[in-house]
């Protein structure tokens, strides 16, 4: 909505964009801000990912958003080989206790190995921020 400057009386403040509340939207807003968000269960202390409205472990709806420090370990990894080249797909175990699919970036897609320490970053892909991981320099794991 627009505010008419000639309007008599106190202009209404333009309504603030509502905070995203849908779990998936909160997560994506985090990525857009460069953060890797996950949920922490107040009922059983589980790290919950992907985001949802109840804890899949204990059923509690007491879920609070947290931001991951972004340090993780490669749980498994593969190289998808097709006509358009090869790319890495990996499962990453974040130190906070949740797992996500992602990819390890940086050159050879076959270079990532199970057990490698990796660090979170975002890249723009198809107009959205996407969580990927890079090999941290030695001693740089947060």
């Amino acid at each position: 909505m627009t505010t008419d400057p000639n309007r008599v009386g106190a202009p209404e403040a333009p309504p603030a964009a509502p905070e995203p509340q849908a779990p998936g939207a909160v997560y994506q807003a985090g990525l857009e801000a460069g953060e890797l968000r996950y949920q922490h269960c107040g009922g059983c202390a589980a790290a919950v990912f992907p985001p949802r409205v109840l804890c899949p472990d204990c059923g509690s709806t007491d879920l609070a958003w947290r931001t991951s420090a972004g340090a993780g370990t490669v749980y498994s990894t593969t190289v998808v080989r097709g006509r358009d080249g090869a790319h890495n797909v990996a499962l990453i175990d974040l130190d906070e206790g949740f797992r996500m699919m992602s990819r390890v970036e940086g050159g050879d897609p076959a270079a990532a190995a199970i057990g490698d320490r990796v660090g979170f970053m975002t890249v723009r892909q198809d107009g959205a921020a996407v969580a990927v991981f890079g090999k941290p320099v030695e001693g740089d794991v947060r």
Partner: protein, 393 residues
């Protein structure tokens, strides 16, 4: 849920009395998935000696129709009193055996038809799948479903020292069985080196670690044990009694599978063996859903045929091939017999034929107890069925 006495009252109460395949491999141009359902249904009912007009229970799943129960009932000309279109991927049809047995035991239907058909090969050789990429996996472009199984294989190799050669030996064993099965799609010789030198699809899996893409359909006819004995007394084939079936679903997407080296077959197998009152040592022949070479290794471990981590050694150098320690996938499996999108129904068909002694060159002598195991999704849903001859009741 307490599993004490899981399903024990169902043991031996229902039998598979008819099995059949449709045309297989590359079918005549223009045939549809429903045409193949029709072929398989007609042949399975003839195998059972039961008229179509008696079918009052229909159990089906499809990659082509979201509401496959209605499409299939309409095509076959059935008005089922009991209709189950549960779709949990390739394991659906093993699951349907349990659902059908339950419905028959409770008098909800008398003649149950389990049926499946697919023209995946004729459709262009690409997986026909209603699956959409998961929101949290899609951006990374895994190749569904092979990359998910590749991740499991890589983890099993890392954790237990399973080797590329052992994975290859699963494909070689399947081919060696297929060479004894005239209905198998791939019957040429296959060596370990052939598998290892094939093109990588998703590391560490090559094209030869992946199941075939074929056309095909299959059907099962189930009735009460009493009806089965009547049919047999009137010249019908030996019934294959349903001794135990267990289902287990743990996840849908591979990133939510807690441990990629342990599948829900640990639960489905335990439930099936508990219902049957049997143990792995009692099983004479094993039909496992081998969409990829890692599958039989995982399932042999999880079903209790060997310890966790020892599946690679178990399958090595002909361990599951003809003449090996345990006859596994005696039809040639999804790797060499055929894999029309969803393979589960074929594990049951081959199990029944082995119990009947119909398998010619590939027959396992004196088979009394057969295990059929279905896998759905990406190691997501596991269903285990134990079938036995009259002597096992």
């Amino acid at each position: 849920m307490s599993e004490s006495g899981y399903g024990r009252s169902l043991r031996g109460r229902v039998a598979v009395v008819g099995v059949a395949e449709s045309d297989l491999g590359q079918v005549a141009p223009g045939l549809t998935s429903l045409d193949l359902c029709g072929q398989a249904a007609v042949r399975a009912l003839a195998d059972a000696g039961i008229a179509k007009s008696e079918v009052d229970g229909l159990f089906t799943a499809s990659s082509y129709f979201a509401m496959a129960g209605m499409d299939t009932a309409e095509y076959l000309g059935l008005r089922p009193t009991y209709l189950d279109g549960s779709n949990i991927g390739g394991s659906s049809f093993v699951s349907h055996v349990l659902h059908a047995a339950t419905a028959i035991e409770h008098g909800l239907c008398e003649v149950a038809l389990v049926v499946y058909g697919s023209t995946q090969r004729s459709d262009g050789g690409r997986l026909v799948s209603p699956t959409r990429p998961d929101t949290y996996e899609g951006p990374y472009k895994p190749r569904y479903p092979v990359s998910m199984y590749a991740l499991a294989a890589a983890r099993h190799m890392h954790q237990y020292g399973t080797t590329r050669e052992q994975l290859a030996d699963v494909a070689v064993a399947a081919r060696d069985w297929a060479r004894l099965n005239p209905a198998a799609f791939e019957r040429g010789p296959l060596t370990r080196e052939d598998v290892l030198s094939a093109r990588l699809i998703s590391d560490p899996l090559t094209t030869r670690d992946c199941c075939l893409v074929t056309d095909g359909g299959g059907a099962l006819v189930l009735v009460s044990a009493e009806r089965a004995r009547e049919l047999e007394a009137n010249g019908g084939k030996a019934p294959a009694y349903v001794l135990g079936v267990g289902e287990a679903t743990w996840h849908r997407n591979i990133s939510r599978m807690p441990d990629l080296t342990v599948t829900a077959a640990t639960d489905s197998g335990r439930r099936a063996f508990e219902m049957a009152g049997l143990a792995p040592a009692d099983v004479d022949v094993v039909e496992l859903y081998d969409a990829f070479t890692i599958n039989p290794i995982l399932f042999l471990e999880d079903l209790g045929f060997c310890a966790k981590g020892e599946g690679g050694a178990f399958v090595e150098k002909g361990g599951i091939a003809p003449g090996g320690t345990l006859p596994v996938n005696t039809n040639g499996g999804g790797l060499s017999y055929g894999h029309p999108g969803m393979y589960g129904v074929f594990t049951v068909i081959e199990a029944v034929r082995q119990l009947r002694g119909e398998c010619g060159e590939r027959q396992v002598a004196g088979a009394e107890v057969a295990l059929a195991h279905g896998n759905g999704g990406v190691l997501s849903s596991q269903v285990t069925a134990l079938l036995g001859t009259a002597d096992t009741l």
